[in-house]
């Protein structure tokens, strides 16, 4: 098993030699590393240099108790056939992260645009963060954990005069 995970360990070795961070090999072809947000762009550039040229997805996880947003960047290397996930945390009260558009161009641009709309994360350096999906939406970013969509629907759509709706909403 340890033998077969050689190329995964090699990726972690390369990264930790430069950035002094630990990583984890989850299974065959899955590598996870965590870095502070100031070094994110440097690590992304370094990862692209290692062959991670396909940005599969960017995701945000909201941790309101902790007061952070966790950003995860899922990168795939066509040559090495490894998925590298870079995780970083940003302050929830001031959700600003460096944009990775200079690294993965249009691909990153569209992922960041989506997350800006749904989570309210600002990506510094991304010039076009216009909303994608929600039309005329003035409320808080809806994918944040403290946005109570059930309450929102209740307020917006509950017709209290209608007997039938009462069974659903109350």
């Amino acid at each position: 098993m340890a033998e077969s995970l050689h190329k995964e360990s090699k990726v972690i070795e390369d990264i930790s030699a430069k950035f002094k961070i630990a990583g984890k090999v989850q299974r065959e072809r899955r590598v996870w590393v965590t870095i502070d947000k100031d070094n994110l762009i440097m690590l992304c550039n370094f990862a692209k240099g290692l062959g991670f040229e396909h940005l599969s997805a960017i995701s945000v996880t909201d941790w309101p108790e902790e007061g952070t947003f966790e950003l995860t960047y899922h990168l795939w290397s066509y040559s090495e056939r490894i998925l590298l996930t870079i995780k970083t945390k940003i302050d929830r009260a001031n959700p600003v992260a460096d944009s990775v558009v200079p690294v993965w161009q249009e691909n990153a641009q569209i992922h960041e645009r989506e997350l800006h709309e749904l989570f309210g994360v600002e990506f510094e350096g991304n010039k076009d963060l216009t909303p994608l999906f929600l039309e005329d939406w003035n409320g808080p970013p809806p994918f944040q954990k403290d946005f109570d969509w059930k309450e929102y629907v209740r307020q917006q759509c509950y017709d209290q005069a209608n007997e039938r709706e009462r069974a659903y909403y109350d």
Partner: protein
């Protein structure tokens, strides 16, 4: 008599002031109310006949699945995952089920793995038939559209037999395996449907030169480096010379035990994408035949008995699952904190990239008449883009 009428007409025409446009530069909206665009629009700027800029206008199908899944247990989410993409519901079922399986660490029975692959490939076949149909419609070849949708129904009949639903299988591929075993006689019916699909593909080949090649050759050319930069995956990427397929590179289920090829072409135009579609269907048929030959006996779900949802907890952890959908790379990032419902689910569909950066890039500089050919050659699905 005829002559007189003509003279009369001529006189009337002379009195009409000819409209000379001051400007040849105008806005043009392709969708969302266009019969050939799906629930999606593109705002185009046109100069004469040439598109000078394109801006995608998504959001007509946004249902917020990622958020909805945070409030539901995996068995409910399995049903929800059908709806991510209407055209390949079973493939999305599989993405979701794999993410949960990897978190719970459950050993999926071997027979269930075979049935999962069988259903995923059948789903790819019918999705590619829609692709062929929609592309034919886009270039004004209605016969192709009708033939493809007619033959697709044979596969939908199979889905009805096996899952109970023609389009939405209601979470047939669920965490732990599949909901129920193949009913009696299903294997013979699958073989018959494959024969019918092969028959259809033979018909399709006869149309190649008269219609398809003339309308699609040299249209919407995408180079490899641009495709990677724009985030293209799946058949779109394989049509521009990049031989990559999640089923081979990052194998899941039993794909590493099966013998199939990855069709690749170098041209990168709409015609190449169309040819890739045909070859992929042949490969899918090959896979399904192998699966039917080797289908092992045994149970199809682990645990076989359904536990009340309130008692099932997903162990803490995070996974990133990649699958090869009919349209490209489909992924799910799932984070669990040990509760019944996942804490966060991120669904990554191929079409967010294909329909925004790739489409905008390809449309810019193209001719109006080529818009539908480019648009449908990308095998798009607004449902999976908006989620």
């Amino acid at each position: 008599m005829t002559k007189q009428m003509n003279e009369k007409e001529l006189i009337t025409i002379e009195h009409i002031e000819p409209i000379i446009p001051e400007d040849t530069d105008y806005n043009f909206y392709f969708g969302p109310a266009h019969s050939g665009s799906g629930n999606f629009g593109v705002k185009l700027r046109i100069d004469g006949e040439r598109v000078t800029s394109a801006r995608a206008d998504p959001g007509y199908l946004h249902r917020g699945f990622e958020k909805l899944m945070e409030y539901r247990v995996p068995m409910q989410n399995a049903v929800l995952s059908d709806r991510v993409c209407v055209l390949e519901a079973l493939n999305w079922n599989l993405v979701h089920a794999e993410a949960v399986d990897e978190l719970t660490g459950v050993e999926v029975p071997q027979r269930a793995r075979y049935i999962r692959v069988l259903m995923a490939e059948l789903s790819r076949l019918q999705s590619h038939l829609i692709w062929y149909g929609a592309m034919s419609l886009g270039i004004g070849f209605d016969t192709g559209f009708k033939i493809a949708f007619g033959y697709r129904d044979y596969i939908l009949d199979l889905f009805e037999l096996i899952t109970g639903g023609r389009v939405y299988p209601a979470g047939y591929i669920c965490p732990g395996g599949v909901r129920r075993d193949l009913p009696g006689g299903a294997e013979d019916k699958i073989k018959r449907a494959l024969d019918q699909t092969e028959e259809m593909m033979q018909k399709v080949k006869d149309f190649d030169n008269i219609v398809f090649s003339r309308r699609t050759k040299g249209v919407g050319i995408l180079r490899t480096e641009d495709a990677i930069r724009l985030g293209a995956t799946g058949p779109v990427l394989r049509a521009c010379g990049m031989g990559t397929d999640v089923r081979k590179d990052d194998p899941y289920e039993i794909y590493n035990e099966l013998d199939f090829d990855i069709p690749v072409r170098r041209e990168g135009d709409a015609y190449a994408r169309y040819l890739i579609m045909g070859s992929e269907m042949e490969e899918s048929i090959k896979i399904i035949k192998q699966v039917l030959e080797r289908l092992p006996e045994g149970k199809v779900r682990e645990p076989a008995k359904i536990t009340p949802p309130s008692r099932v907890k997903i162990p803490e952890g995070e996974v990133y699952v990649r699958n090869e959908l009919a349209r490209g790379e489909g992924c799910a990032y799932m984070r669990s904190v040990g509760e019944g419902a996942p804490y966060r689910v991120k669904l990554r569909g191929p079409d967010l990239l294909h329909m925004i950066p790739v489409l905008e890039y390809l449309l810019k500089g193209s001719q109006i008449a080529d818009i539908p050919a480019i648009y449908w050659s990308l095998n798009i699905c607004p449902a999976d883009m908006d989620r």
